[in-house]
């Protein structure tokens, strides 16, 4: 903290050097001050021996004032290490320079290792993608002001996606320590206020002991379903001031408690099981049900016990269920019971908008009259008011506020107990019909994929099929969303493992895709998995510097551009508005095109040190391009293929 500012001595432990420094200043007052500062004769007591010695002795060496053997940030690193972080992502910032230095030197830049990011939004979105693969948070650091402002959209995405991100903010709370206009403008009374509406918890500790306790508490809160981002302010004075000798023995790091996710109570479980077993056509809707690989296995077990289908449209928030499983699918319109598991938009799943009012004010239920609706969701445990990510009130018959994955084991056992041999026979017959329907759905998908097979721009079906052919024998992980691809990867590929799909943004904040893919690929790296990112062009342009981060940190990742040269979703909305207004239906491209000039993504990739090729316009050129790029990725590096694609 302001080591070069010799006038500031207040809270430092270096009394000796500070006193000497003050004496040196006193011995050479500025000329304008001399006359008025001359003390009146007889009004000043004689100096003590120590004061006299300070005034007459030469000042101590500069290094004695400047150096410290034990800054507070070293202890902060001890705390961070105790929590098991593998990485800390940051765009460097002066308000956390002490912590930065301690991480790389005191902590030897291992566990956590510092990841150099070009934008705070990239830091958070990388942590977002990482957590969805690794199942635990990455730490990020940012200025409490300008850095957090950059990071805020990505934090909202993570919050809405119920993903833990551990955010440490630098800030200089004590005004006397701010040494320039830079540090004044980078300081804030309440740093976390800006994101408090969309984080789970925050604190601004005023001592190192306080920091340690809050750091552990923050981790526990972030990881308790419903998970979410947390913020911890690392005050710069605490970071940079030495730990007083007397305080060192008392500093300790609290242990991190084992986390028991909140499961539904026994009575509720029994009631849900009773209804499920009795239902003729139950359908399960999985939103963010599978938090872990075990969640996927449990959902498969429940579906098989009941011979009931599982679906995850329209947004596919997580890898909940194998896409070629015979029970993947189901028809909500025919259901007599719908069980929603961590679905953040259940109302949308059971309703349709009328064509009369496109803003959605007039709607109708798509469920049969009398259909029972049941929700199990941890979202109900963590409600906030301002941001409206909680969605429309679903009018469930039974709403259970609990973590779905944690509730599944008891639900499975309860269902097993209630299924009689006769009922089991009926369920098997139902399962056979569902399997047949799933097979027909798959055959239909293959026939649909054939339309436009040779078209240019390349169809998203062809793109997905070519990619699948290239990766299907690898241990692959799709680290991007499928919604803008008309779901073709999940319609064609054989998704079986939890890490093979991570869902989307959470709050649909664009700019998430590229950094989340890099973060997820980083998590996949130590497992030797091949990470594949089908990258929307508009999304990449928010913070393309993450390509450099991928190259710099040798993160293997195959990125294939879904380059439709437009903010296409918005273009469709503008088209809709033009049709409503009965004018200019040929002008929706204005303000939504990413053309003139076309962006050369291959050259962009090369500029960041990433292998780049394209644009690929002929679908027959796709397979060879993918093969060459995969050779680069297998060497442990990122690669990008620019592909001109159909809009969706």
């Amino acid at each position: 903290m302001a080591k070069s500012d010799a006038s500031r001595v207040g809270r430092r432990g270096f009394l000796r050097g500070a006193a000497a420094g003050a004496a040196a200043l006193a011995s050479t007052p500025p000329p304008a001050a001399r006359a008025q500062d001359v003390p009146k004769r007889g009004s000043t007591p004689l100096p003590s021996a120590s004061q006299a010695a300070a005034e007459t002795s030469p000042p101590p060496p500069r290094a004695d004032v400047y150096t410290t053997s034990r800054p507070g940030s070293d202890f902060m690193v001890d705390v961070v290490k105790s929590l098991g972080f593998e990485y800390v992502a940051a765009n460097p910032g002066s308000s956390f320079r002490g912590l930065h230095e301690s991480i790389i030197n005191y902590g030897n830049n291992r566990n956590p290792e510092l990841l150099t990011c070009c934008h705070e939004e990239s830091s958070v979105a990388m942590a977002h993608g990482y957590a969805k693969i690794e199942g635990k948070p990455m730490m990020i650091m940012a200025h409490g002001t300008v850095g957090l402002q950059h990071a805020s959209m990505a934090i909202y995405n993570a919050y809405a996606d119920r993903v833990p991100v551990y955010i440490v903010l630098g800030n200089i709370l004590d005004a006397t320590y701010r040494r320039s206009v830079v540090e004044w403008t980078h300081s804030v009374q309440d740093a976390a206020a800006m994101v408090r509406d969309y984080t789970k918890w925050d604190d601004a500790p005023v001592s190192l002991t306080h920091f340690a306790e809050s750091a552990v508490r923050a981790y526990q809160i972030a990881m308790t379903p419903a998970m979410g981002p947390v913020v911890l302010v690392a005050d710069a004075v605490l970071q940079e001031e030495p730990v007083p000798e007397a305080d060192r023995p008392s500093l300790r790091i609290p242990k991190l408690s084992a986390i028991g996710p909140p499961a539904a109570d026994a009575a509720a479980i029994h009631e849900v099981a009773r209804l499920l077993v009795a239902a003729e056509n139950p359908v399960m809707v999985a939103g963010r049900c599978a938090r872990t690989p075990q969640g996927l296995e449990l959902l498969v077990e429940l579906a098989e016990v009941l011979q009931a289908p599982v679906q995850d449209r329209p947004f596919r928030f997580r890898m909940n269920f194998p896409t070629r499983h015979p029970l993947y699918g189901g028809n909500l319109g025919e259901a007599d019971l719908v069980l929603a598991l961590e679905d953040p938009d259940f109302w949308q799943a059971t309703h349709a908008q009328t064509p009369v009012n496109r803003m959605g004010m007039e709607t109708r239920s798509t469920s049969k009259p009398g259909t029972r609706l049941i929700t199990i969701s941890s979202i109900d445990l963590n409600s906030k008011s301002n941001y409206q990510d909680f969605g429309r009130y679903p009018e469930a018959d039974l709403a259970i506020a609990a973590d779905a994955e944690a509730s599944l084991p008891a639900l499975i056992e309860a269902c097993k107990r209630l299924i009689t041999p006769d009922r089991k026979h009926a369920l098997q017959e139902r399962g056979a019909k569902l399997a047949d329907a799933a097979r027909r759905t798959r055959e239909r998908a293959l026939e649909e994929a054939a339309w436009g097979w040779d078209a240019s721009p390349i169809t998203t079906a062809r793109l997905s099929a070519e990619l699948w052919n290239a990766v299907r024998k690898e241990d692959w992980s799709l680290v991007s969303d499928v919604v803008f691809l008309s779901y073709w990867p999940t319609r064609l590929w054989d998704f079986t493992k939890h890490y093979q799909y991570i869902g989307g943004q959470g709050a649909f904040g664009v700019g998430y895709g590229a950094p989340a893919a890099v973060g997820a690929a980083l998590a996949n790296r130590k497992h030797g998995r091949l990470s594949v990112n089908i990258q929307c062009d508009g999304d990449l342009n928010y913070a393309p510097g993450v390509l450099w981060t991928a190259a710099h940190h040798r993160i293997p990742l195959l990125t294939v551009m879904h380059n439709n040269r437009a903010y296409h979703q918005e273009r469709m909305y503008v088209q809709d508005m033009a049709s409503r207004a009965e004018r200019g239906i040929d002008r929706a491209n204005i303000g939504t095109s990413i053309t003139d000039p076309n962006i050369d993504y291959a050259t962009m990739a090369k500029a960041y040190g990433v292998y780049g090729v394209g644009p690929i316009e002929n679908p027959d050129d796709l397979a060879p391009a993918i093969r060459r790029a995969l050779e680069v990725v297998r060497r442990g590096e990122p690669a990008l293929i620019d592909v001109l694609t159909q809009p969706r």
Binding site: W451, A455, N469, D586, P647
Partner: protein
């Protein structure tokens, strides 16, 4: 049976009223007026709109739907898209070749056998 006869009758009328269109101009309009946004440049269909290439729907059915859609599609009134222009678009859609069967495309055939 009554419903079947009615459907046949309506289809016959629709065919009888089917206006001739200019496929080349229809292709231009399909791109210019944003049809491709949901249905794809090749009218292959997408998440946001069904396949229209080589449609088997009669022209009048398509035109009626464009005027009064009941899904997520915007309504296009005659003020912005005339019947004549719609007929051209329809002619373009009819001119598109049917897709090859999936079994005749090696990648898709491979997927069938996985």
């Amino acid at each position: 049976m009554r419903f079947l006869l009615l459907a046949v009758f309506l289809t016959a009328i629709a065919h009888a009223q089917q206006p001739a269109g200019n496929a080349e101009n229809g292709k231009r309009l399909f791109a210019r007026d944003g049809c491709y946004e949901c249905h794809g440049y090749a009218a292959q269909g997408s998440r946001d709109g069904p396949r229209l290439a080589a449609t088997s729907l009669p022209a009048q059915v398509v035109i009626n739907y464009v005027r009064r859609p009941f899904g997520a599609m915007p309504a296009y009134t005659p003020k912005v898209l005339s019947d004549h222009e719609l007929a051209d678009i329809y002619a373009f859609l009819k001119s598109l070749p049917a897709a090859r069967p999936a079994k005749d495309i090696p990648l898709l055939d491979q997927l069938r056998n996985e």
